[in-house]
Symmetry: C2
Subunit: 122 residues, 2 copies
DNA sequence: CTTAGTGCACTATATACATAATACACTAAT
DNA sequence: ATTAGTGTATTATGTATATAGTGCACTAAG
């Protein structure tokens, strides 16, 4: 994973894990890698990895049991609402970016369709 | 302007100025505020303001003349291509966010409509 | 020449981030 | 009891960011 120097690593990895959770790639109740293993997997420091799990627990996405590890929550409703809010965030950020560039939502759809068409033609 | 604690202030203000340039709010050749004034306008430190203008000059968006100030480039083509790349960046970031959540642009529109409907029912 | 506005350079401080290294405590399995 | 795997805590170092304050040099205008 290549990191954006403009955002803390722990934020970026936490977002990646949340993505894997809401897509079902990391199912409810499944065990996450140990802190040291997560650090190895992402090429980061174990301290940073620990911070990531602390953040996921703070958000109610994971539960941590000392000596056992960190697990994805089994609360399906929580995961569903997390996915919804992540989609909403992406959408709002996109529209805010375009608004700052003086582009309306309607114009944004034109750009979006143009982009999808060019992808279809690949 | 409220700043995102996850990104450097100088990046955020530089982006805001670039937005104003590509929308014509800051026309080609126009004079930008002095470093100290920019700092006052955004509630930031003059050193940070200076760094912002250094970045804009590095990107070829502005030119700085010692003792006179910083001015928007008069190269219309440069401004046009900047706008295009900013739109493309916003679009690609949006689609990358959605891809990470396992959904296509088309599905995102469904979510958006669902969102709008639930807002209508409030 | 003097002045105001400006860019630029420098030192200093505080905070967050990320790293490194070490140690301790808990749990499950042997 | 021992072991491996785990979370947790601590101290330390280096870098980037942002702040604060000061001073100097250049430019245009009076």
């Amino acid at each position: 994973m290549d990191f954006d120097p403009m955002k803390p690593i722990w934020v970026q990895v936490a977002n990646r894990l949340k993505q894997q959770i809401v897509t079902g790639d990391l199912p409810p109740g499944s065990k996450l890698p140990g802190g040291r293993d997560l650090a190895l997997a992402y090429g980061i420091n174990p301290n940073t990895a620990a911070r990531i799990y602390q953040e996921l627990e703070r958000e109610g996405v994971c539960t941590t049991r000392r000596g056992m590890g960190t697990y994805v929550t089994e609360d399906d409703e929580r995961i569903r609402s997390l996915k919804e809010s992540m989609i909403r965030d992406a959408l709002e950020r996109f529209l805010a970016d375009l608004a700052g560039l003086g582009i309306s939502g309607k114009e944004a759809l034109i750009w979006l369709k143009k982009e999808e068409e060019s992808n279809d033609h690949q």
